[in-house]
Point group: C2
């Protein structure tokens, strides 16, 4: 049986815990109210996407975006804003790509929508034509072998799995063909690679994205074909094995360019060199305007600063918003950030990323030790009133990933994923496909999480 004193202490602890939960709940409500009432993320995204537009690393637009982010962080009330220099790849698309399928004896002819994959070499100036062969996997390619592949164009046609509820799971399974399709096909003598767009939508938008070469293997040009185009091609290959594919691309890789991460800080009240970092990436693919990938993440991070300033919240830890450069085709900004953090002996309490679209937030995934994951999940009741229930998934973000080796807990905002791959890396990743409230809720969710981390550590 407990002594009176023990019971008294227990009671005091309990009261204190209830009072804390109430005051955390009240603060989180304030944060959401501020975002939904005075939010600036939507107008910021309007500027970034419509006045600057797509902003691939090394482009003039990427530089404009750096200058814009610097000013936007100042306007949001950051105590300090500065740049972190890094060298980035500079790939340019050149003229609009064209492609067509032609049959033996001109029985078939159809133009199909394609775009170069990021990093691809160009085709010869007159384009390239060869018999096209469909495979669904690298295993199929291997079975075909050099005798069947040499001189051909390989069409990688693995649809994303629609039965995955979380669309990122479906993406992970399909994207390997985009990344390594050209490399693997070239090993067997192929002269080009055409990869089915990574999306669950059936439409005419080709989805670009980064691909890779290997210096020991011949480089061949690689493009993405829209899902409608891929379906048409696959259907017609069933009755005519001798179809040819023609495509023409003038993309090229120029020398690396100087670019920057943009960092905005709110000074904490207690911990001089301890940081909670929240980031998104400023660069985007060039075919669209980088609204969901990842303009939305950047403006949400800037909004975190604005909310803290507007509400006069004094966090214990320094809060740092980072607009990372070059997530799409190199990850140089994320690497540079981690390198400097180590060099400057900074302690990161947690790193949070928003790079999964502007949609209604549904949870936070994490890449952290079990105890940290458990602590995160213990805060779930405070987030449920905002529709945020899922704290179970694993995963951080790619810009913050390089911090992992220093033991920093990584967290990623998990918005509803159903629409993400409709827009991802396409001409329709535009401002009009972002909903103001959904965007604002995401920023508020991260601000609220940072409040909890600032109060209780991680």
């Amino acid at each position: 049986m407990k002594s009176k004193l023990q019971r008294l202490i227990l009671l005091m602890c309990l009261s204190s815990a209830i009072a804390s939960a109430q005051s955390d709940s009240a603060m989180i409500k304030k944060i959401f109210n501020e975002a939904l009432t005075n939010g600036k993320s939507y107008s910021n995204l309007d500027y970034l996407t419509n006045k600057i537009g797509g902003r691939l690393s090394g482009s003039p637009q990427a530089q404009l975006a750096v200058e814009w982010a610097f000013k936007a962080m100042k306007d949001a009330g950051a105590d300090t804003v500065y740049l972190q220099e890094c060298m980035v790849p500079h790939w340019v698309r050149g003229e609009k790509e064209t492609a067509k399928v032609t049959g033996s004896g001109s029985k078939k002819f159809k133009e199909v929508p394609i775009c170069a994959l990021g990093g691809s070499i160009a085709t010869p100036a007159e384009g390239i034509t060869a018999q096209v062969i469909e495979v669904k996997s690298f295993e199929e390619l291997k079975k075909l072998g050099k005798e069947n592949v040499t001189g051909k164009i390989i069409f990688f046609n693995l649809p994303m799995d629609p039965t995955q509820i979380e669309t990122f799971n479906a993406y992970s399974a399909a994207v390997a063909l985009r990344w390594a399709g050209a490399l693997e096909a070239a090993k067997y003598g192929a002269v080009g690679a055409v990869v089915r767009s990574c999306t669950l939508a059936q439409d005419d938008n080709p989805h670009t994205g980064v691909m890779g070469y290997n210096d020991s293997v011949t480089k061949i040009p690689a493009c993405a074909i829209s899902t409608n185009g891929a379906n048409w091609l696959s259907e017609n290959l069933k009755t005519d094995k001798n179809l040819n594919f023609y495509f023409k691309m003038s993309c090229q890789t120029l020398p690396d360019e100087k670019s920057y991460n943009v960092v905005g800080e709110l000074r904490g009240t207690v911990k001089a060199k301890e940081y909670i970092v929240v980031g998104g990436h400023l660069d985007s693919w060039d075919t669209g305007k980088g609204a969901n990938d990842d303009g939305s993440g950047v403006v949400q991070c800037i909004e975190v600063l604005r909310i803290y300033k507007a509400l006069g919240i004094k966090p214990k830890f320094n809060i740092r918003a980072v607009a990372f450069m070059n997530e799409e085709n190199g990850g140089r900004g994320g690497k540079k950030y981690a390198e400097l953090a180590k060099l400057n002996d900074e302690k990161h309490i947690a790193a949070i990323e928003s790079d999964a679209g502007s949609f209604t937030p549904m949870g936070f995934s994490s890449d952290a030790p079990p105890a940290v994951k458990a602590k995160l999940k213990s805060w779930r009741p405070l987030f449920e009133p905002y529709g945020i229930y899922n704290f179970d998934r694993d995963g951080g973000g790619s810009d913050i990933e390089p911090l992992k080796k220093s033991g920093v807990p990584l967290i990623e905002l998990m918005p509803d994923s159903q629409r993400y791959f409709d827009y991802h890396h396409t001409p329709i990743d535009v401002f009009e496909n972002v909903n103001k409230r959904e965007l604002e809720l995401g920023g508020a969710a991260m601000a609220a999480l940072i409040w909890m981390i600032s109060q209780y550590g991680m």
Copy 2:
């Protein structure tokens, strides 16, 4: 201490419970896979919205929709499809409405986007012009009194509350002014009512919706004004109290028309006169195409039948999909359904409605006794893998509401609500604003819930 026998029984019960949960989980997975792989709800919605279009009760389009739903339920594999006749109001909009704000001495002039509220009388043929007075509530109107209101047009300008996370909560608070604005203003001698559109979006789309009169009070015409229009008017009234409002509408109410609910049934294996009903409403407002309100609900209910048939699931109870008529401006279909259910001595185990848009499903609300709500919530772990977490909210659907007095548990699908009021009752409630996967997940969620009810009762 328990006897060996007691322990054995406990163990058997436990094993059986685990086995059931596993087989339920497997069945729910099958249901979702079927919806996401072979789903027909999206192509059905394409037909309903793009080939038939907006379908207000009593219109030729509503009749076409009845015929279409009959065929669609047959195609989905219903064992029986039949119509339930009901008389419905027949209001027609007439020519496109026009409105402008004019200042004293023609200092101000601006055309503003309006539309007649459903059920409104017309203005005189030449339109109506009067000084416009802004209020935010019926209390303000009362304070103004007859001396300030007589002969004026009352502008009800209560914005929806953006800090409500669930947008339906914000709607509930604002919609009273739309429903009763004209009635209340007329009591004080007003000659017209202009109501701020019920939406959180700031744009040029006026939102129609039903309004009501009372035979003992003079009927005055009532319109909705877009939020941009309302903001402009309110801003300008601050500096010029003497602005006039002009509007012209030629809407009218014709005699009631004959129409129908469409009912499709799958016969249960065990319970002859016991039903689980799942419904949406077939009618829609006329300014758009009724995609989210509520074409999506109708095609999801038809999809439930298709999924059960395609998977060869034999439910214990009869499953009945209902495309209700006249939810928007009378609710006659819902009333008729409940009336016939009683007359025919049918037992309803549960009634489920989908009338909150085509968006990603996040939960089920219910209007049922605590024990039923608790049972519903106990199934939540089976739904969490599909992002469906919220079983706590109260509320059924308006078409199934008349079943409540017979004690039927009412349940409503709760999709993500952030975008719903962007489209609700506007020209942009169209097919293009529906995402295929989100729509399919909603139908699957209801099919999965029906599986659980069919297995364990309600």
